[in-house]
């Protein structure tokens, strides 16, 4: 099948019966947009953008909260030959200064010629025009309906299609440049015979934010290229009532839906028996799970809870991906229950080897297979020297193939380093077993003590199991205060406003019990201190920097409650609370 550029794909979709549905907060359909209507709207927005003086090849930042307006603006820009850069919209209008501080760096990196937003946000975002020299206009989508374009822009497969900002922190944003070829290759792989095997009768439902790659590419654009139908629910509607997601699947007989691990956890915890009375999830053939580490116990608990209403464990599709690889990297086969590899925890950390273990308990780590690469794409595991490692040896995951991005905009050194030797260096650690990929941590986060490697995620997980520790608000890292040896530090937030006095001691006890690691220091910080990136990843690097610079004060003792000081921390705190990304923990550029 010939690869299509995004404008060509919009035109082709307009000839199918597919489209998008937009749901109200309670899950009922609020409006529908066939792909023929979408093409019409996109051509009209595209005409408006040309009228506003924007020229093919220029970049525009797209900051639009509602799904329908967002997709119309995004595809309108694409049809006009512009390069859209989707950015997170502000969560609250009363804290816009913090929002502007966080957003301006990404707009600057994108070299956007304009910002497209809504009438409501335009007043606030007008400041970006003064802040960022390349921005000539801040435009409201409601007023962009110009004279309809006669035809979509004649872009080429190797032209940039859009910029993804889901990789990297907000303070140092990295704009991932993807081409039309990257996009077409990746969505074709996702939809195709080694992926979801999408047909005209498939129907999707997504509550993932569209300014995030899994929501935008994984659902919206894959469905567009394939010409089927998907509904969109707002992320907040899901987070407020997780049962709404499942009710929509049941009501619309949806077949495909993706979510991060935490969403399945949330359903296990929050969906009540009364919500399940008339659910029927037997239609759900692919329950994708990505964007953060996939946990075997989460999948098992979800499958058990919802088995009675027709959910099959075989529907789970735990997968791996990253923004620099467009989106998807590996998928397991369809209709297979998650494959779980129980390995010796000691061997995994000390010898970087995944040795099968049947002992269970703390001595054993359970990892979920993310499957195999798509045809035409390669995955290899490299040791520190760069040479490929044998199966069951842990090393950096390297990727090659047509989905690999072109580079970070304006960051040639970083791009060259990331793409050294013709392979994309993912920065993730993993191993292969029977040709399938298991992901077990990040290269840069790895803590080395006495020559042994520890994965922060494992320590964080163990600490999270302690009662009184707020789940997802635990950061582990190694630090070298001039001693040459890593000290292991865990920074965490308590659930209680006033933590129990022995919380730190109980965390140390639990971590040593679960992982064999003696933590040098446990720092308990007030709620809201631990920041997230816009992609929701724990900011281990930033917390470590705060710790090392003394911003996280330790008044006395080795393990004492700290006070939060400093302007930097206060501004971060305000932002962390304000931002919607805070609610979407785990939604990262990695899947």
């Amino acid at each position: 099948m010939a690869l299509l550029t995004l404008p060509e794909a919009v035109c082709a979709a307009a000839r199918t019966g597919g489209g998008y549905g937009y749901l109200a907060e309670d899950g009922r359909t609020a409006s529908r947009q066939s792909f023929a209507e979408l093409l019409d709207d996109a051509l009209s927005i595209g005409g408006g953008l040309h009228d506003a003086g924007l020229r093919p090849g220029e970049t525009i930042a797209v900051i639009v909260p509602e799904a329908r307006d967002f997709l119309t603006a995004f595809l309108g820009a694409a049809c006009a030959g512009l390069v859209p850069a989707p950015l997170y919209p502000p969560a609250r209008l009363d804290q816009f200064e913090a929002y502007l501080r966080q957003t301006a760096p990404a707009v600057r990196v994108s070299r956007a010629a304009a910002v497209v937003t809504t009438t409501g946000l335009r007043r606030i975002l007008g400041a970006l025009q003064a802040d960022v020299s390349t921005v000539r206009a801040v435009l409201a989508i409601e007023r962009l309906r110009g004279p309809r374009l006669q035809a979509v822009a004649p872009v080429k497969l190797d032209d940039p299609v859009f910029l993804q900002f889901t990789s990297g922190s907000t303070s140092d944003p990295k704009g991932v440049v993807l081409t039309h070829r990257n996009l077409a290759e990746n969505v074709t792989a996702i939809a195709g015979p080694h992926g979801l095997r999408l047909t005209d009768t498939d129907r999707g439902i997504s509550w993932l934010p569209l300014f995030h790659d899994m929501g935008l590419i994984g659902m919206a654009l894959t469905v567009l290229y394939r010409g089927c139908f998907t509904d969109f629910l707002s992320p907040l509607a899901f987070l407020k009532r997780p049962a709404t997601w499942l009710r929509v699947i049941s009501r619309t007989r949806a077949t495909i839906s993706f979510a991060p691990n935490f969403a399945y956890d949330l359903c296990v915890r929050r969906v009540q028996p009364r919500d399940m009375a008339d659910l029927d999830l037997s239609c759900w053939r692919v329950a994708g799970c990505g964007a953060e580490p996939v946990r075997a116990e989460t999948l098992a608990a979800f499958a058990k809870k919802f088995a009675d209403v027709g959910f099959r464990a075989e529907a789970f599709l735990p997968c791996y991906g990253m923004a620099e690889h467009t989106l998807a990297v590996t998928f397991p086969p369809l209709d297979r229950a998650p494959r779980v590899d129980a390995v010796n925890a000691e061997q995994l950390s000390s010898a970087r080897r995944a040795v099968p273990s049947s002992t269970g308990g703390a001595a054993c780590t359970e990892l979920v297979s993310c499957g195999r690469p798509f045809p035409g794409h390669d995955v290899r595991i490299a040791g520190p020297s760069g040479r490929s490692l044998a199966e069951r040896h842990v090393g950096q995951i390297l990727l090659r193939g047509p989905s690999v991005f072109r580079g970070y905009l304006g960051r040639e050194d970083l791009s060259r380093e990331t793409l050294a030797g013709g392979w994309l260096h993912s920065g993730d650690l993993g191993y292969l077993a029977d040709g399938e990929l298991y992901v077990c941590g990040r290269v840069k986060d790895t803590i080395i003590v006495n020559g042994r490697n520890y994965y922060p995620h494992d320590l964080e997980q163990a600490a999270s199991d302690v009662e009184g520790v707020r789940k997802g608000r635990v950061v582990a890292f190694g630090t070298q205060p001039g001693t040459g040896r890593d000290r292991i530090v865990i920074v965490l937030e308590p659930i209680h406003g006033q933590p129990a006095g022995d919380l730190a001691e109980r965390v140390r006890g639990r971590v040593v019990e679960a992982t064999g690691v003696l933590v040098d220091e446990v720092v308990v910080v007030p709620s809201g201190t631990i920041p997230k990136t816009t992609s929701g990843k724990l900011q281990r690097v930033r917390v470590r920097q705060w710790y090392e610079s003394g911003v996280l004060l330790r008044p006395r003792g080795v393990t004492s409650r700290v006070r939060l000081v400093g302007y930097l921390v206060r501004t971060q705190l305000v932002y962390a609370r304000a931002h919607a990304a805070d609610m979407l923990r785990g939604l990262a550029g990695r899947h």
Binding site: E25, K240, R241, L266, I495, G497, M583
Partner: protein, 87 residues
């Protein structure tokens, strides 16, 4: 400031709050959900959903970020109930 449990609405809000908290708390009207009670944003949304069920109201999602304290939650419920009585 009026204590949160000065009337039935206030008392019921506190009951819901304690259930979502899953531990004993004695909040005042100006207790903040995040800093004083240790709620993260997911718990705040759970709290709002429980309030909706208890009082038969709908709290529009764009109003949720305005609920930062116990008193603001009580006021929000009161005003939504008043709207229902006088449509």
């Amino acid at each position: 400031m009026t204590p949160p449990d000065a009337d039935t609405v206030g008392r019921d809000v506190l009951t819901v709050l304690r259930r979502v908290c899953r531990r004993p708390v004695e909040p005042a009207a100006n207790s903040t959900l995040a800093a004083d009670l240790g709620f993260d944003s997911l718990q705040t949304l759970e709290f709002v959903a429980e309030l909706e069920d208890r009082f038969g109201i709908i709290v529009p999602i764009d109003q949720v970020p305005r609920i930062q304290t116990v008193g603001e939650a009580v006021n929000c419920v009161r005003s939504l109930l008043a709207e229902n009585v006088h449509p």
